[in-house]
Symmetry: C2
Subunit: 133 residues, 2 copies
């Protein structure tokens, strides 16, 4: 699985948030989507940290979009939700996790790197607006 629940929940929540005038609270979103509140809250906090959402504390608080849908890439959302960019494989980003220490001379490494870059590009080019239209 390239994506986890975190990305799913982030995208589902963002679709609701972008269609709302007022800030949407974590509890309200979790009800509408039938997903665990604490978990969703965590994810939304992550999106806020990355500057995708603005969070308003206190009564009548909640989350609102800061940018236009067309200015938010799916890549940025997924990275914020997962805490890292989704990897095709351990070493597909040269993250130095080769158990054999053979990165560089590995026969399949070039394939993995190309594959990863295809995925990266796909996600970077797509925006929130794209996927909901």
């Amino acid at each position: 699985m390239l994506l986890t629940r975190a990305s799913e929940y982030a995208l589902l929540a963002l679709d609701i948030i972008r269609n709302s005038e007022k800030p949407k609270g974590a509890e309200q979103l979790s009800n509408e989507l039938s997903i665990p509140k604490s978990f969703l809250a965590k994810i939304l906090q992550g999106l806020a940290k990355e500057g995708i959402l603005e969070s308003k504390k206190g009564a009548h608080g909640g989350f609102v979009l800061v940018k236009k849908s067309s200015e938010i890439s799916i890549a940025s959302i997924v990275i914020a939700a997962e805490g890292k960019t989704p990897a095709v494989f351990d070493c597909s980003q040269y993250s130095a996790t080769c158990p054999n220490g053979i990165i560089g001379s590995c026969t399949i490494s070039p394939f993995l790197v190309t594959f990863q870059s295809k995925v990266d590009t796909f996600l970077q080019k797509l925006t929130l607006e794209d996927i909901f239209n």
Copy 2:
């Protein structure tokens, strides 16, 4: 992670096997690649079942390629190694695992399906020969 160790080991092993005249045993491969023998054996058995490798039992046995490298898609290897096609997400193949039962009306499902199909196509078009050249 879209791919697991099983795919990595399968590909690394296949590169050695295709460059060998004689059948390659699981033990020999596991030594050359420094990967656990039992685990590799399991994976090779899977490749044999899918008709990617031929296995020869008994003394001087081992594994050989049955088709030409250019006739073996990476997709078929990965499917054999993983036991299933690598999924972008739970529901990206309409495998009916939607916890909300909203497949069909889900706002992000179209995106997931397109993403999955991009990945599928990429892996289907690539052959063993391609990635080692």
